[in-house]
Symmetry: C2
Subunit: 269 residues, 2 copies
């Protein structure tokens, strides 16, 4: 049995900041799981990963340890759904599934009743529960998306959310990759195709963020360089990488996204 | 200058629980301010007080101390607005002003820019900001209420929220006081009238909760006694008082409230 509940979504990249801020006696941020020594921990697995879109698995294993899978980006518009996710604690959000980030609603699927009870108790103590306005809106959104796939109208695939989203993401990534390749200055991660069990077809990986790298020594601080070109990105420094990387949102509105992947912008000026 | 922002409302009576839960190294719950010894503190002043409706003032004073005024119940339907509130940090909520508790929106008026900045930062870290759905709804609600009082339609007073609320609260309290008096078993706090600077008239205090006391030794556990009569209340134990007290909501819907202040219920059976 899985326990399901809504919660306010906490961005996992902000976990170190929250942990430091509260100075809780219960836990502290221990950094990269690969470098962790010990038996007692909570490992956060963000898969597909933010910012680079890679598929991740837990790297620690211990009886005393717990693993939380942040599956915010495990949706067909971003990546082939290769497996039915079956982890102990799985987190999701309407922010990245339907695009309703402002609604601030996530949900959790949790196997252990006692863990679920503690999570619900924490939500109650932290905020006395989640906005009912947001819960009603999220429930309606998820129902509409789900109903679209249950009606089995194979001829109207393009109306359905994940098909629509994958089409848009594939087109944006194709365009960006062409321009990046032509520039000779930047690079993007390469991903293998996979078979999507949800849509029953092979598909590429089209992450919500482009993890753009500068391949030229002249551009050490890529965020600053792009800002000077009026392109706002987030430096790799914030993600444990170098300043020669930036994270670029691939989810902005068409009129904003369309300003970005143009040869004139993605060349040295 | 006052800084204004929305936040998720945290119920102040739950502060001890939250503090214990997080085990923060930054602060701990120190109990009743009257018993506090020290220079460095955050005093929470809930006025009108929950549960008993009394007007409260800060009891501590120190250069190093901070005071937070929880003015959730400082609205004309509950109490005469005798002063323009002018404290350092003041908290409000749509829950008790307009009745939209499920929207989970409060706001703060803060004099010190640096304190306001920290509060906003905490909200951002804790939940990445407040549901936009809730913020839009709350802003609309507050605008409608405010507009009602700016139009100066003296002949349509009864349409306006606080006048409506005060009429309902006065009628409920009058009815409850009559039944309690007739019972000879229970008592309620007595409050002085006051001049309301908002409505420009003398008015009584009609708290959101009735702080009901058993005056009979046979009824030691008033919450259990009332539960046996199918009346759900909250024991005084949870508010630092004895189990001969209960907190009764005066804000339920008419059909629920109407079940309560009947002579048959408020007598020993």
């Amino acid at each position: 049995m899985l326990f399901f509940f809504f919660f306010f979504f906490m961005m996992f990249q902000s976990y170190p900041a929250v942990t430091d801020y509260l100075r809780s006696g219960l836990f502290r941020w221990a950094g990269d799981a690969h470098a962790f020594k010990g038996e007692s921990y909570i490992e956060l697995v963000c898969s597909p990963n933010n910012p680079d879109g890679s598929i991740r698995e837990a790297v620690l294993s211990s009886e005393a340890g717990k693993t939380i899978h942040d599956l915010a980006y495990y949706w067909p518009q971003y990546t082939p759904i290769t497996d039915r996710a079956d982890h102990e604690i799985m987190l999701f959000t309407v922010s990245k599934s339907t695009g309703h980030a402002g609604t601030r609603i996530g949900w959790a699927l949790v196997k252990d009743r006692e863990v679920a009870r503690k999570m619900v108790k924490f939500i109650e103590l932290n905020t006395i529960g989640v906005s009912k306005d947001s819960q009603l809106r999220a429930a309606k959104l998820l129902k509409v998306v789900s109903d679209g796939y249950e009606l089995e109208r194979a001829d109207e695939h393009t109306d359905r959310l994940f098909d629509f989203g994958r089409r848009i993401m594939a087109a944006r990534w194709e365009r960006l990759r062409e321009v990046v390749k032509a520039s000779g200055i930047f690079s993007l991660p390469e991903f293998p195709d996979g078979f999507c069990e949800f849509t029953k077809e092979r598909t590429g990986i089209y992450p919500a963020f482009a993890w753009l790298k500068s391949e030229k020594a002249e551009i050490e601080d890529l965020e600053s360089y792009l800002r000077s070109q009026k392109i706002l990105t987030r430096s790799g420094k914030h993600f444990g990488a170098g300043s020669n990387y930036v994270r670029v949102s691939m989810l902005d509105r068409d009129e904003t996204f369309d300003l970005f992947p143009r040869p004139a912008y993605l060349s040295l000026r």
